[in-house]
């Protein structure tokens, strides 16, 4: 259902492009991420989805154009956080992975443990608290990565193909977590090449192909009435170049 | 993190605190391997330290190297055995007065089966000539030590330059560039002859099949001398304590302590500070 309220903008991209060594990887594009909504970046492998997320998050700097995001990170919070396709687990216990992230954003030492425990409890990981994070299963690692990001209390959470390497049951758990986060009001910007997942989770869709923004629309419209031949082919399950 | 650092610091503290609290008052003496390897210092120095409270740190090197160490100012006193080099050291102004301290003698050591057939000779010159003539293996210190200098002087006296005859007789002359003990070890392993000071030989514990081949020739005499390094050259030299050590060595007390040092009932060094021209 279209949202007719005027919503705040969580992130705004204008005329942004990116190239390395003369190779154009992201062609100039502009779009906005609306607060409280789930934006799914859709497209085949190699479309530039991961690059786009990194540019939006600030891990990479665009060659041209701008990314406007909330760069104010009050102590104990981080305005935006990221979850990677392959979870980056520190060589520490599950609990210490969370406290480390909290310490990095200047959470007062007295609150570290409490907030970390809160995050683990929130996502049912407390039973694993003392286990070395690197010895968890892939699904558990990704849940920890999301719990760890959630502990930072971000307004905007980037997720780069968070379920690409997981089996269906682990994927279901992750999707449930993301639904919860959305219900809490966290803005999500997530990439996937899984059409079904996009249908289940997306409020809005950015459709990318070969580094270009092909289509940007609300999810319902994108799936029911795609405007471009490329999007139509992608939805139909054809291979997109 | 704190735990680990604590353990580390505790460990260092434990190891640093416990052993060798070096005495405040000490002098450094550059001396020869023969005086150290023979055990003479182990006998002498506790007596001196007990009397004066001065600890003596001995750096044992070949005579040439010991004199160089003193030249650089890295020792307060130098105690060696090569009179010509010592006199040069004093003349150059690096040392103050040279004092004769003691002597022992060199002995020619060889394998019991005596491949050169020189056992019991009284003439060191003909013994060396025989070795050179037959090309029997001979180990040379080759380290500019006092013993090396004495050995080279003996070769020169018999008119042989071992470096030159080396090529045509299967490398019988072997320079090893090491101390006396190492030379003896090498001679034993190679069944070779070697010139040694008697003190090191007597205290050497790995004699194996080695024995004395030639001894008693007047030309095998080995004089030791001691000098304070000139504080005018190196201001940090501990001249006062160094001189106390020198004085003690040549005093009646020091001299009798030297003469009392024996291994297996045999006296190793003969004190002769009073002897004119030594």
């Amino acid at each position: 259902m279209p949202d007719n309220q005027v919503r705040a903008v969580a992130l705004s991209v204008s005329d942004m492009s990116f190239s390395i060594g003369g190779v154009q990887l992201i062609y100039p594009m502009s779009f906005q991420v609306t607060s409280g909504r789930r934006l799914v970046v859709l497209g085949p492998n190699g479309a530039g989805k991961s690059l786009l997320l990194r540019l939006c998050h600030g891990l990479l700097q665009p060659n041209a154009g701008q990314v406007h995001r909330n760069d104010l990170h009050p102590a104990g919070r981080r305005a935006h956080a990221m979850v990677f396709q392959t979870p980056v687990m520190l060589r520490r216990s599950v609990l210490d992975n969370v406290t480390h992230a909290l310490a990095a954003i200047a959470v007062p030492p007295a609150q570290l443990h409490g907030r970390a425990v809160e995050a683990l409890n929130r996502f049912g990981l407390m039973g694993l608290a003392e286990r070395p994070a690197r010895l968890l299963s892939g699904g558990e690692q990704q849940r920890l990565a999301i719990a760890r990001a959630w502990a930072l209390r971000p307004d905007l959470l980037f997720l780069d193909e968070p379920t690409a390497a997981l089996d269906p049951s682990a994927t279901r758990l992750i999707e449930a977590m993301l639904t919860d986060l959305h219900a809490e009001g966290v803005t999500l910007m997530m990439s996937t090449h899984d059409l079904g997942q996009a249908r289940r989770l997306a409020d809005d869709v950015l459709f990318l192909a070969s580094g270009s923004l092909v289509e940007a629309s609300e999810a319902q419209q994108f799936f029911n009435d795609p405007q471009t031949a490329q999007a139509r082919a992608f939805i139909a399950g054809d291979l997109v170049w | 993190m704190l735990n680990w650092c604590g353990v580390l610091i505790a460990l260092i503290g434990l190891l640093t605190g416990a052993p060798v609290q070096a005495q405040e008052r000490f002098i450094t003496v550059a001396s020869t391997t023969s005086t150290q390897d023979s055990g003479l210092f182990d006998h002498l120095l506790p007596l001196f330290t007990q009397k004066t409270g001065i600890q003596v740190r001995v750096v044992a090197q070949g005579t040439g190297q010991a004199l160089d160490t003193a030249r650089r100012g890295d020792a307060d006193v130098v105690f060696v055995h090569a009179k010509a080099q010592e006199q040069k050291f004093v003349e150059e102004g690096f040392g103050l007065k040279r004092y004769a301290v003691m002597y022992n003698d060199f002995v020619l050591i060889g394998p019991a089966n005596d491949p050169a057939g020189i056992n019991g000779m009284k003439d060191i010159a003909s013994a060396l000539q025989t070795i050179a003539h037959q090309g029997t293996p001979f180990v040379s210190r080759g380290d500019r030590s006092g013993t090396h200098a004495a050995e080279l002087a003996l070769w020169k006296a018999v008119g042989i330059d071992p470096a030159k005859v080396q090529g045509n007789t299967q490398n019988w002359y072997r320079e090893i560039g090491q101390g006396m003990g190492a030379a003896l070890n090498t001679a034993m392993a190679m069944e070779a002859y070697v010139l040694s000071d008697r003190a090191t030989w007597l205290s050497f514990k790995n004699k194996g099949t080695l024995q004395i081949s030639v001894e008693g020739d007047a030309r095998l005499f080995n004089q030791y001398g001691v000098m304070l390094v000139n504080p005018a050259k190196h201001p940090h030299i501990k001249a006062k304590d160094g001189q106390i050590f020198v004085d003690w060595l040549v005093s009646d007390e020091g001299q009798s302590a030297i003469s009392q040092y024996k291994i297996g009932g045999k006296q190793l060094f003969f004190a002769n500070s009073g002897q004119h021209g030594a």
Binding site: R78 | D37, M180
Partner: protein, 234 residues
């Protein structure tokens, strides 16, 4: 003449009875070497980590140079510090030649390239997997290096033990700068060399046994450390 068993028996007797001269030598060796390794760690760990995470012109050349320094001949290090620390040398004013401090400096210099090189390698691998995440949570280089050093601590301990092994086994450098002075700068290796030359094989062998024992313990520690590392940190 001695039969082959007797030096070994005498050596074991020395060890069993904690012969004071013997104990002194072992203590001094451990003290000097541990201090040298700590010194090298203090300098080498942060430098190695910095080298791992930073990018600058000539970085590869620096890495190659440090790797080459790992094979630095100890006698060359000894000679260099001998010339530096000698009363006639540029650092002669400190009067450090023929003291334990000189040996610590020489050994630390031998261990330092090992610590830097192995730290660089270890941290670089870990940095490759941590980099984006640490940047994502807004960590600066200093915090990131602390995180990396801490998370790699088990591997780094192995690097330090490797350095410790090189230092304990080393004879050339400490002999030259220490002077092998009885009770002051006589270490296990220099004492072994001396006692062998004196033909006193018992003491030499006794020290040799301790040295081999220490090497064994160090290797066991290194092995155990990596096992613990896997169990605790994954």
């Amino acid at each position: 003449m001695m039969d082959d068993a007797s030096p070994l028996m005498a050596a074991l007797t020395l060890i069993m009875h904690f012969d004071p001269v013997f104990v002194n030598i072992v203590q001094l060796s451990l003290r000097v070497t541990l201090t040298a390794v700590c010194l090298a760690a203090l300098i080498g760990l942060p430098l190695g980590a910095l080298l791992a995470v930073s990018r600058f012109r000539g970085r590869l050349a620096v890495i190659v140079a440090i790797n080459a320094l790992m094979g630095l001949p100890p006698v060359v290090v000894g000679l260099t510090f001998f010339l530096l620390l000698s009363r006639s040398g540029p650092l002669g004013g400190f009067g450090l030649l023929f003291t334990p401090s000189a040996m610590i400096i020489a050994q630390a210099s031998l261990v330092l390239p090992i610590v830097i090189a192995l730290t660089r390698q270890t941290i670089e691998d870990l940095w490759a997997s941590y980099r984006e995440y640490l940047q994502s949570i807004g960590m600066g280089p200093k915090q990131a290096i602390l995180t990396l050093l801490w998370d790699a601590r088990f591997s780094l301990a192995t690097a330090l033990l490797a350095g410790f092994g090189r230092a304990t086994a080393e004879v050339g450098a400490v002999l030259i700068v220490g002077g092998n002075i009885a009770g002051v700068t006589r270490m296990m290796t220099t004492a072994i060399a001396l006692e062998t030359s004196k033909g006193d094989l018992a003491l030499a062998l006794g020290l040799g046994i301790i040295l081999v024992g220490i090497t064994l313990v160090v290797n066991a520690l290194a092995f155990g450390m990596s096992r613990i590392g896997v169990r605790h940190a994954g």
